[in-house]
């Protein structure tokens, strides 16, 4: 197997990797800015310099020439090489900044040049704390600048598009954003304008940067030049904590991180998953954080005298639900599952009602034709359409007909009236129970509204359009959950040190809601049915033992493998 030596240690490699990627893959570090594993390597930041040499071979014998100590004679390349664009060849000898003073010096000097015109506004810069330039300047950069002349001024606070703001002075012209629009989103909306120390990325004159994937350029910007217009100045990164989750605005199941502070989700960023979304996510998914914070239904509400809803107690809500069911026959009840809710929620609700005797289960896929593209946007607007199908709930194109003869309609977490799957008039004269996360026309029309947790508050799994089951983690506390006790929840600095008596903790940000499976458990215990679910992990284990498609899958596998592909879920089923 071909070999190379990095800092005196021998490595073997396969194929033809680039040197920088190989170094990173082996847990070592070389500073860099412009390189990105998913894009081409233009080698224009010049930061990843390393010293490289090749062993000298005797041309006739093909043997390595040895010096008097028996070591291979190395012929060094005359200049430093940018490791990001260098192909590894057999026998190559590499010195990084760790073993070569010369390399460390070269990197430091490059950094000094990059920093010449970079403003010193880290204290007010959104990127501070997650800024490669800041981090690498601390680690490899010079202590000060020798340039005492006035810095070059360029446009600031430029609205590049509806979602991205540019500060050209901070830009180091790595061209990652330009390459993103050329190679990944292929809208070709950005370019580098002007020349020398005056250049910066910009759109063509008069054209907005309205790429549906535009905010990804903010994520890959190695400095604070491109910032998210929505997230600007909202929070410092070190105040937030990060929880892995799934994008709920589409069927692709894009892997995301939810960034929370004081139990509010402040932003959503993509999380790397080579099988699903690589490093990217559509802009549409980033706006979902508002759903997690705003217009939440907190505490159950019940309709009295006409159309007025009032808040009520949990006991009263469960009691009313149970009495309503007991006052009707199971055959008069229709249960509507939801592609917007998780596998666990659908399963637990379905199990309860089928045990009680209901056999009328439906759900309506949420499809918007023409919304999808070949990348991460899908026609399917719901994150779990395939999961609901896999559980065997009937797909129904006309819900109005399906509920026509029913007296009680139970709807799981789906804004059916808002998205036109059901007419408000169809619910007239029926008793409607809605388990929901957000206020909507549907919740306004329901007779009993029970607040349930959203994806940001529970651990639950979702099956994407390609039949891959992936799960979320709780990111936000509810009134009844506790970050310190639930080991699946991550803790940020403010979460750890905040108390109820300071202004870091706002009790109102915790929603008064419980997971759907707890609602079901309460209802079952009230009605004397032997059904109880402790947590979603347990439910999923039950699902995997009873539903063939989920056989052998559990949370541990999903965590280790970044989601698991369901067997037998063909592409055809997906588009249906």
């Amino acid at each position: 197997m071909p070999e190379l030596f990095i800092d005196g240690i021998r490595y073997e490699y396969e194929g033809s990797p680039k040197l920088l990627q190989f170094i990173l893959d082996n847990g070592k570090e070389v500073p860099f800015f412009c390189y990105h594993p998913s894009m081409s390597a233009p080698a224009n930041c010049r930061q990843c310099y390393v010293k490289v040499g090749m062993p000298v071979k005797d041309r006739e014998t093909g043997e390595y020439e040895l010096d008097e100590n028996g070591e291979r004679v190395i012929r060094w390349f005359p200049k430093m090489q940018t490791s990001c664009s260098l192909d590894i060849t057999d026998g190559m000898v590499v010195h990084t900044q760790e073993t070569s003073e010369e390399v460390a010096r070269a990197q430091k000097d490059t950094m000094e040049l990059i920093l010449i015109n970079h403003p010193l506004d880290c204290p007010i810069c959104d990127q501070a704390g997650e800024c490669p330039l800041q981090i690498q300047t601390y680690k490899y950069g010079p202590e000060g600048s020798r340039f005492e002349v006035k810095k070059v001024h360029k446009p600031k606070r430029v609205e590049l598009g509806p979602r991205v703001t540019l500060d050209a002075e901070r830009c180091i012209n790595c061209t990652r954003c330009v390459r993103f629009t050329e190679e990944i989103s292929e809208t070709f909306q950005l370019t580098i304008a002007s020349r020398g120390d005056k250049n910066y990325p910009i759109t063509a004159p008069g054209k907005p940067f309205d790429d549906p994937y535009s905010v990804n350029t903010v994520d890959i910007c190695p400095v604070g030049a491109l910032t998210s217009t929505d997230f600007r100045f909202k929070a410092r990164v070190w105040e937030m904590n990060q929880t892995p989750s799934i994008d709920i605005t589409g069927g692709k199941g894009t892997n995301v991180d939810l960034w929370t502070r004081d139990n509010l989700v402040l932003r959503i960023t993509p999380r790397y998953n080579a099988e699903v979304n690589d490093h990217w996510m559509p802009d549409a998914g980033r706006e979902a954080y508002q759903r997690f914070n705003e217009k939440r239904i907190s505490r159950p509400s019940i309709k009295i005298d006409g159309d007025n809803q009032v808040k009520t107690s949990w006991n009263n809500a469960i009691e009313t639900f149970a009495e309503t069911l007991e006052g009707n026959k199971p055959s008069d009840v229709v249960v509507i599952g939801s592609p917007h809710a998780s596998v666990e929620e659908n399963y637990s609700v379905m199990k309860f009602f089928s045990t009680w005797g209901v056999n009328n289960f439906h759900f309506a896929p949420h499809i918007e034709k023409g919304f999808g593209d070949d990348f991460l946007l899908t026609d399917d607007q719901a994150p779990n359409t395939n999961g609901v199908k896999a559980l065997g709930i009937d797909e129904s194109s006309d819900l109005n007909a399906a509920i026509k003869s029913a007296k009680v309609v139970v709807i799981l977490s789906d804004e059916l009236i808002d998205r036109g799957a059901i007419d408000a008039s169809s619910l007239k004269g029926k008793y409607t129970v809605l388990l929901a996360t957000n206020e909507s026309q549907t919740s306004a029309a329901a007779d009993l509204v029970i607040p349930v947790t959203c994806i940001a508050e529970h651990a639950a799994s979702y099956v994407n359009v390609d039949g891959r089951v992936q799960r979320s983690f709780p990111a936000k506390e509810t009134k009844y959950s506790n970050r310190k006790l639930n080991l699946e929840m991550s803790e940020g600095r403010l979460d750890r040190h905040g108390t109820y008596f300071d202004n870091w903790v706002t009790e109102e940000n915790k929603i008064d809601c419980i997971p759907a499976w707890e609602v079901v458990s309460k209802l079952a215990s009230r009605m004397g049915l032997d059904i109880a679910f402790d947590n979603s992990r347990e439910i999923f284990e039950e699902v995997s033992s009873s539903v063939p498609l989920f056989k052998g899958i559990n949370y541990e596998r999903m965590d280790e493998e970044n989601g698991v592909q369901l067997t037998g879920n063909s592409k055809e089923e997906v588009t249906a």
């Binding site: 909306q189 950005l190 370019t191 002007s194 020349r195 063509a204 004159p205 054209k207």
Partner: protein
């Protein structure tokens, strides 16, 4: 919004000829921008967009190329653009004096255009004619060497009459007779 600029059929034929010289379209950007600048006298954003659409390239790419080169005029300029060199050799031999003389004579500052649309003045970096400093270039074309105030008067006069100065051959020192 309809583009107010349009290529003539002859221009389009020329652009086709340019394109046929390259295996890909992208390298045709530079010569096509020249065709446009010759036709319209500048490459304003609208002209850049016309070039992009004609070549089938992204507008942003053409914009990036046009802004990289100072020889492409990104705004309307006078008929004659006087590029006065103010880099080291010319600076030492009076380049700034020539620039300021021109500014005073035409009543405009560098970067501006006279009201009659005839002249623009620019101060530019080295044009590679250090041997004949101070010097200037007229509209990316003729070099006028060894400038003096009298020579500038003459040049302006002849340009006003619509006559470009003749190409001046200036011998290098090694060509002059050695005594």
């Amino acid at each position: 919004m309809a583009n107010q600029y349009e290529f003539t059929p002859e221009d389009l034929q020329e652009i086709e000829d340019i394109k046929s010289k390259f295996p890909e379209v992208m390298p045709a950007t530079l010569p096509t921008l020249w065709v446009a600048q010759r036709r319209f006298g500048h490459v304003e954003p609208d002209v850049q967009e016309l070039v992009a659409n004609t070549l089938g390239l992204p507008f942003s790419h053409v914009h990036g190329v046009a802004t990289f080169y100072t020889q492409y005029y990104k705004e309307k300029k006078g008929k004659y653009v006087l590029d006065v060199c103010t880099t080291t050799s010319c600076q030492l031999c009076g380049g700034y004096d020539m620039l300021h003389y021109l500014e005073k004579k035409l009543g405009i500052k560098k970067g501006e255009t006279t009201d009659d649309g005839l002249f623009s003045i620019q101060s530019v970096e080295c044009l590679g004619a250090c041997g004949y400093a101070p010097m200037m270039q007229i509209t990316n074309d003729i070099y006028v060497n060894n400038l003096t105030e009298e020579k500038l008067d003459e040049v302006i006069k002849s340009l006003k009459a619509g006559k470009m100065p003749e190409f001046e051959s200036v011998g290098m020192p090694q060509h002059t007779e050695r005594s």
